[in-house]
């Protein structure tokens, strides 16, 4: 009965789902709560210590940062992060007021790893509305160490993902990308300006694991996709991003930077009309 009612209520949505392929259908089933968290069935446990080292499935493996890095992580955090986020990572700097900077306790290792590994943290300008992607100041191991220490304060999820893209379904990925990502990042993944001072970054040059981290943790303005995208669907999206978005097929010639009609208009007017007018100038009489 419920399904019949919802069929009427969600008519337009079902219209889409019907045409996006069978697996995209599951995009609207919000029954899978908290994708990216461990379940009894998918956990790998270190036999010696009894600690969870990873969890996940054939689509994405989430790796827990090793506890051996906690000491290093604390030292790095105090050097690089504590001036804003505070010595306890709770967002309260020394002599500061709470709430001025994000509280990092309990955000999960993937969040920490994403911000540091994409070069956004440590922030160039802590007062900026949005931190921009730069060359990372800390390397991957240092990021992992900081994530390990912050996570040790209040262990949380998701952990650091490794997508297995070999079996990614590009077609499902394309459909899911168009539905979930293109509204901000554009259908060609170039990114664009959003509201006052915020931007959806370009996806052209981003490693696969960071795409998963962004989808699962929702950095900045981006929504956090957990319940509505399964690990397999995230993997498909990442597969599409790392192939067709980052290396688009341009059989029609020079791709004009993926900018679409604006670049095409300039080429059409300057090279098309411009060149032909010059030919006319050459053929005709100049006075």
């Amino acid at each position: 009965m419920l399904s019949i009612v919802s069929m009427f209520a969600m008519g337009p949505i079902l219209l889409f789902v019907g045409s996006a392929g069978a697996s995209a259908h599951t995009a609207y089933q919000t029954t899978r709560k908290n994708a990216g968290t461990p379940k009894a069935s998918n956990v790998t446990i270190d036999p010696k210590t009894g600690v969870v080292i990873s969890y996940g499935n054939s689509a994405i493996t989430y790796n827990v940062p090793p506890s051996s890095l906690v000491t290093l992580g604390r030292a790095l955090f105090l050097q690089n992060c504590a001036s804003c986020h505070g010595t306890e990572a709770n967002g309260v700097p020394v002599n500061g007021t709470s709430g001025a900077y994000p509280n990092l306790v309990g955000v999960g290792p993937a969040t920490i790893d994403f911000w540091i590994d994409s070069g956004r943290m440590p922030a160039a300008d802590p007062r900026a509305v949005e931190a921009n992607r730069r060359v990372a100041r800390l390397d991957a191991k240092q990021a992992l160490a900081i994530a390990a220490w912050v996570n040790s304060l209040d262990p949380s999820y998701p952990d650091i993902p490794t997508p297995h893209l070999k079996h990614a379904n590009l077609s499902d990925g394309a459909a899911l990308f168009a539905l979930n990502c293109a509204a901000c990042h554009t259908i060609e993944g170039d990114g664009d300006a959003l509201a006052q001072g915020t931007f959806a970054p370009s996806l052209r040059n981003i490693p696969a694991f960071q795409v998963v981290e962004a989808i699962r943790t929702g950095p900045g303005n981006m929504p956090r996709f957990t319940g509505n995208l399964s690990d397999k669907q995230v993997r498909d999206i990442v597969g599409y991003v790392t192939t067709e978005i980052q290396h688009p097929q341009n059989p029609g010639g020079f791709g004009l930077g993926g900018l679409g009609p604006v670049a095409e208009g300039f080429v059409g007017l300057l090279i098309g009309v411009g060149l032909l007018a010059l030919v006319g100038f050459w053929v005709g009489e100049r006075q």
Partner: protein, 511 residues
């Protein structure tokens, strides 16, 4: 043996001085009476100025549009029925898409030369509209629209509107994500018209958006109805051009009562045929090497999907820009809502602009009280007010076009989007008010230049052995013959108009 030779000679003598060709033409003339009209057509005089070639770019792009368009119709399926795509583009494999989209992707990937044809069609559309705008600007700034050519100006303006409209229709046909967004905007624009909007929109779309009929309807409009009107109007445009004869720039030997230039046959015909091939060649090069509208990257359109940073083709850009920057005004009362923030920029504004274009010849007649026939063109700087008005409109259109990329500007320069939007509002409103006096002043300054608008003669500077520099006027170059445009003798083959012709093929006929 001698009999055979004599027979041949007898035959060739019977055929007359023009041989077999002449014989065939004689036969034709006996039946159809083509000689008189054909002669006057072959003697049609074309002024040689390069700016007269701009309209030809538009004409020949239209020819290419027709040819490539016919090719595309062989493979395109105008249907919104859903099919499962199984083609060579793997990221779409297994997706449910409309037949229109599937056939567009298939004709790009699976049909030999299909992608080239599609890209040539799209590029020549951009060139077509662009060349029309440039041609219109030439006609406007030189005053070629004045009496007796107002009707041709009206036809030309109509052609521009039809070309823009048909470009939009064609852009919509592949039913990809980007064009679907455009159709959605078109539906909303129709809906925004007070009182009749919803009825109009439902009438055109055969019901509510998106419906299943819009693609076949756009198709028949795009491939038959609008092109048929365009062909008819182009014919009328050219007929009037031949009938009224060309305008020409003032110069030695050129008056209001003659036309100086090269005859249709053989000079202009060779030139213009070559130009057709050059236009086709440039279009083919663009189609082969510059990718346009990669619909496979955009994916199929679904009403629930949207991509950011979607823009229309450049000729719709000014409408998009106006829509973006217009403040959110709307009228709610008496049970009606009139979305002025859509209606004004997308219906009233273009309506106003094109109506001014239609009315301009009449307006100019009224304000200048000039009701004379004009066959000699103006130098734009000699008409500062008209030139400044044209520049102001072009400035408005250009800034509106730039305003259609507020997000791209904000993203590229890392500026806040809202500030870019506000900046654009000032930029657009101020641009015509800055452009008008600036253009007017430049015209006035140009008028003051001695010998302005005339070709400068070259001086050759020589240095003597003593180190003295002497400037002497350079000899006239061979291809400078046209500079003076003296009316010169008619070539031999035109016997019945002996007045004023020349070796260069430049000659004069009475109107």
């Amino acid at each position: 043996m001698t009999d055979v030779v004599d027979t041949k000679r007898a035959k060739s003598q019977a055929a007359g001085p023009y041989g077999k060709v002449g014989q065939v033409l004689n036969e034709l003339d006996d039946r159809l009476g083509v000689a008189k009209g054909g002669r006057s057509f072959m003697d049609k005089i074309f002024p040689d100025h390069w700016s007269f070639m701009l309209g030809e770019i538009a004409l020949y792009s239209f020819v290419i549009l027709l040819v490539t368009g016919v090719f595309l119709t062989l493979y395109y399926i105008p249907s919104t029925a859903l099919v499962t795509y199984h083609g060579s583009y793997l990221p779409l494999d297994g997706q449910r898409v409309t037949e229109a989209y599937a056939s567009s992707v298939n004709l790009s990937f699976a049909v030999r030369a299909g992608l080239l044809m599609r890209q040539m069609h799209h590029w020549s559309c951009d060139i077509f509209v662009g060349a029309m705008v440039v041609h219109m600007a030439r006609v406007f700034f030189t005053g070629a629209f004045r009496k007796p050519r107002e009707l041709n100006w009206t036809i030309g303006t109509t052609l521009l509107i039809l070309a823009i409209g048909n470009g939009f229709l064609g852009y919509s046909l592949p039913d990809d994500l980007v064009s679907g967004t455009g159709i959605r905007i078109a539906f909303s624009i129709l809906e925004s018209i007070p009182f009749v909007g919803s009825y109009l929109a439902f009438f055109l779309f055969g019901g509510n958006y998106p419906g299943a009929t819009i693609i076949p309807r756009f198709y028949i409009l795009h491939v038959l109805i609008v092109p048929a009107i365009i062909v008819g109007l182009v014919g009328a445009h050219l007929f009037l051009l031949v009938r009224q004869k060309h305008t020409q720039f003032p110069g030695k030997g050129r008056t209001e009562n003659n036309v100086v230039g090269t005859p249709m046959f053989p000079v202009f015909m060779a030139k213009t045929t070559g130009f057709l091939f050059i236009v086709a060649g440039v279009t083919a090069l663009l189609g082969a090497f510059a990718q346009i509208n990669p619909i496979w990257q955009f994916g199929p359109y679904e009403a629930s999907r949207i991509s950011y940073a979607v823009q229309p083709d450049f000729y719709m850009g000014f409408l998009d820009g106006a829509l973006r920057i217009w403040p959110s005004w709307s009228f709610h009362s008496f049970g009606y809502t009139i979305p002025l923030e859509v209606f004004i920029p997308s219906v009233v504004l273009p309506g106003l602009l094109f109506n001014i274009a239609y009315l301009w010849p009449a307006l100019e007649r009224k304000f200048t009280n000039d009701h004379a026939m004009h066959n000699l063109l103006d130098r734009p700087s000699n008409r500062p007010k008209r030139t400044a008005a044209g520049v102001a409109v072009l400035a408005l259109m250009s800034t509106l076009f730039i305003a259609s990329s507020t997000d791209v500007i904000a993203n590229f320069f890392r500026l806040p989007l809202n500030e870019v939007l506000w900046g654009m509002r000032f930029f657009v409103i101020l641009s015509p008010f800055v452009a008008y006096p600036l253009a007017w002043k430049i015209c006035k300054e140009l008028q003051a230049v001695q010998g302005g608008g005339k070709r400068k003669t070259t001086n050759v500077v020589t240095r003597t052995a003593e180190g003295e520099y002497i400037a002497t006027p350079a000899p006239v170059y061979v291809d400078d013959v046209h500079a003076e445009l003296d009316a010169t003798p008619v070539p031999d083959f035109v016997v019945d108009e002996p007045e004023q012709a020349g070796e260069s093929g430049v000659r004069t006929v009475e109107r």
